[in-house]
């Protein structure tokens, strides 16, 4: 069997036209660029909604490479990443999966929340994440050597508590790890103001609320309000909602279903506004 006998469809990938908004926090941009230059894969760790995905988008734009993002889930199989055969009319065609497309196009492939994916996906990730830099498409008997521009980026949230969802040391040790956290208050306020379309004064209050909820982590909340939630609240306020109503909907209710905890969160919202 030769790969050429069958028609192959590789999705064309586009580059980002406009620069995504991103505020660097520390030296993550320089580290990522260095990793890209040395063709090293990157692991992003951090709580949900702290800007990991936005960072990858920004870096893809900055490096001028296309970006393929895959949100991993527990039914994600190797075939979903690598590709599969389809029958179109009388003809059999091969459709490249997102990972294969990224390898062929020299793109950045971002596997978001990698621990959610099925364990067998490590089979294809490992050879791409070490010096081999190759993708084996076993169904086609094809070994694709990744071009220099290809870059593998994965992310995970160490705050998840499930025993069944852990990133294995053999996987994590192939990656350069960048740790993310919520930005410093000043910076976070600027981000919330910019993304949410509110003035800095309002953004500072929202960030204050974020801090107060993060103080409750482990005492009834699994995680405090993420920057993303604060941006949502800001957007609602920008659309004309009253600040406390916006925060209760976008922050308090999004954080907890527990009635007692909701009372406390509402108290905190009222404390800030």
């Amino acid at each position: 069997m030769t790969p050429t006998a069958i028609k192959t469809i590789t999705p064309a990938l586009e580059r980002l036209a406009r620069a995504p908004y991103y505020q660097p926090v520390a030296d993550e941009v320089a580290l990522f660029e260095a990793a890209a230059q040395k063709r090293l894969p990157v692991l992003l760790k951090g709580p949900t909604g702290c800007g990991k995905t936005r960072f990858v988008e920004y870096m893809a734009w900055k490096l001028g490479r296309p970006l393929v993002t895959v949100a991993c889930h527990d039914d994600l199989t190797t075939a979903d990443l690598v590709g599969r055969y389809l029958i179109v009319g009388e003809e059999t065609v091969w459709l490249d999966g997102p990972l294969t497309a990224a390898v062929r196009n020299g793109a950045i492939c971002y596997l978001d929340e990698i621990v959610e994916a099925r364990k067998d996906t490590t089979v294809v990730i490992h050879p791409l994440a070490d010096t081999r830099r190759a993708l084996l498409v076993d169904k086609r008997g094809e070994l694709i050597q990744a071009p220099d521009e290809f870059m593998l980026v994965i992310s995970y949230n160490p705050g998840y508590q499930s025993v069944l969802k852990e990133i294995k040391p053999s996987t994590r040790q192939r990656f350069v790890a960048l740790e993310f956290d919520y930005p410093e208050p000043e910076l976070e306020a600027r981000i919330v103001a910019n993304e949410g379309g509110v003035d800095l004064e309002m953004a500072k209050k929202l960030v204050k609320l974020g801090e107060l909820t993060r103080n409750l982590k482990g005492a009834g909340l699994d995680e405090g309000a993420s920057t993303r939630l604060l941006v949502h609240a800001a957007q609602l306020i920008g659309a004309g909602m009253a600040p406390s109503a916006a925060c209760i909907a976008a922050v308090a209710r999004a954080l907890s279903d527990d009635p007692d905890m909701n009372e406390t969160l509402d108290d905190l919202v009222r404390a800030v506004f």
Partner: protein
Amino acid sequence: MFEHELEEKLDALLFASPSHRSIERLAGLLAPLPRRHQELVLHWAGVAAQTYAEIGYLIATLAPQVLTRLDEQDFAAWVIAGLDAYDKEGLRPAMETLRDLEGFIAVKEGRAFVRFAEIEPRLTRFVQGLAGRPLALKAGAYPWTDTETIYLPERLALGRSAEENRRLYQALAVLLWAQTHYGTFAIDLEAELARWPEREQALTWLAQLETVRLSACVERALPGLGRLLAEARGAWPAELAAALPELQAPDATVATSLRWLDHFMSAGAVPPAPSLHPRLDPATAWRVRNERIAREIATLRQALAALKSAAGGRAAAEESFTARRDDETGTVEILLAGEAVKLPDAAQAALHSLVLDLGALPPEALTPAGEGAWTPSEARGPGPQGVSERKADAYYDEWDYQRNAYRRGWCHVYEMPVKPGDGAFVRETRRRYAAFIAQLKRRFEAVRGEDRILGRQPEGEEIDLDALVEAVNDRKSGAEPSPRLFCRRMRNDRSLAAMFMVDMSGSTKGWVNDAEREALVMLCEALEALGDAYAIYGFSGWTRTRCDIYRIKGFDDRYDDAVRAAIDGIEAKDYTRMGVAIRHLTQLLAAQAARHKLLVMLSDGRPDDFGDEYRGTYGIEDTRRALLEARRQGIRSYCVTIDRHGQDYLKHMMGPAAFTVLDDVKKLPLKLADIYRRLTV
């Protein structure tokens, strides 16, 4: 009736009460009452004793005092209110209801009041949200703070409605938090107050002036709370008018308040009666503050010493630490050779707290602790005590953080059976929570029911389309098609073994023990539905030579009457030497064949043992070490605790995201099974 007659009657009524032995004293208490009252008390104590002997006993004890406040009719109503509370909520709330005579009278008079116990969980979480450092809430005679604990009155009835009283509580808590946050105790107030012979008056003035200043601080940072405070207090008294502009200015400090104190006291002015008045106890606050500062400087210096030794022979090791303050945010960073260093969480918290207390870092905090420069307060522990005649079942090493080494074969473990109970508690729990258990089982069955579909099987109930397409394609291109064209449903094999480690220390006596037992019943019911392998062991002990491990359910035991009787028999024993218990149970868990292994600890507080040795840092470090050892054997651990002040050590001991703090022990039975489910999906 004479004392001996009373004693005889009480004896007959209350023979089942555990307090029965003090009947004589009780008779002495009732003897001075008029005959009519004696008969009334005997009647109602008898009625209550039929429900629960201990309640009857309590009623008789309280009666002489209650009868000075209530007439006979109301006395009956008071007893019935207590029995109602028993029927609805159980023994402990019943006792509390009966003891709360003031509350009963307030309800009778139609006054709306709120009890501290009602708002405590909500307010504790709220203050934790606000606080820069852990603050505990406790009931006290009047509102004040020692800078680590906020004391609030047992009951508030100042407001017209319950809601208004709740807000008053919140306002008091906020003002007291503000005292600790905005530097009321930054100066030794005691020295300032000593100047005035009319100390009480000066203290009242100062408390009021500070309330003005702090309200303005709160208003600036948290406008919503500023409004709450303004509503709670109304307008400022006219006497304060002259001082308001200066006290409310953003640069006002406690020194500003002292200046105005001087002004008012020199003029001999009498302080106005305030509507909302937290009090000050400067002497206690100053002592607690200084102890904390010393402790935190020690913590910080230790962390710096560790950083320094980690830097090793590098040039940085020669440099000294400096502090840099960011004037905009007010945060302080520690620098080594011009670069900011990342401190461990405990040291970071100490740094934050020091800056709050002192405004800046004292120079001595920046000198790393030298070898033996700091000796922690924990004294050396006691020698072997209560050595058992039986040979220990196992010996375990224990980690001594001061030596940075293990003490070999230090702890003696005895595996003990639990004295089985009669099963009544478990039966009662299953009956009381029947609806909840049914719901729990359904939820867990849903997790188990997630079957997996295996593709590319030689046989199965459905065709695997992917495989078929490939086979067609292979045949077309002349290759041999695979015969594995089917899908098969497979029961999801979770391959998980869970060990539950139950705290049986003396501090769990009473409702914690009840909650633990109830929680275990729920858990067993749920896990039976799920089919995971699980075991339950209790632990307690008395010094290193007697670490007892109680087998409640082994991995191989079925959840049967014997296990239920063992759960029933779980009782509060002695101390909590956690490290050795973890090590022993880790051995049992590691022997399981399952792919994933989970150790869940139920506890009500930090590690502790007889004597001072294990208490404090030693115990926490040993427990942490034991958990790391377990981790190396592929065991994940998780801690469920009701220690509300556990945040500070849990994060260090368990690692981030590996613990849950329940604010109310009553929630344990309802939450434990769900916590387990969340851990394993």
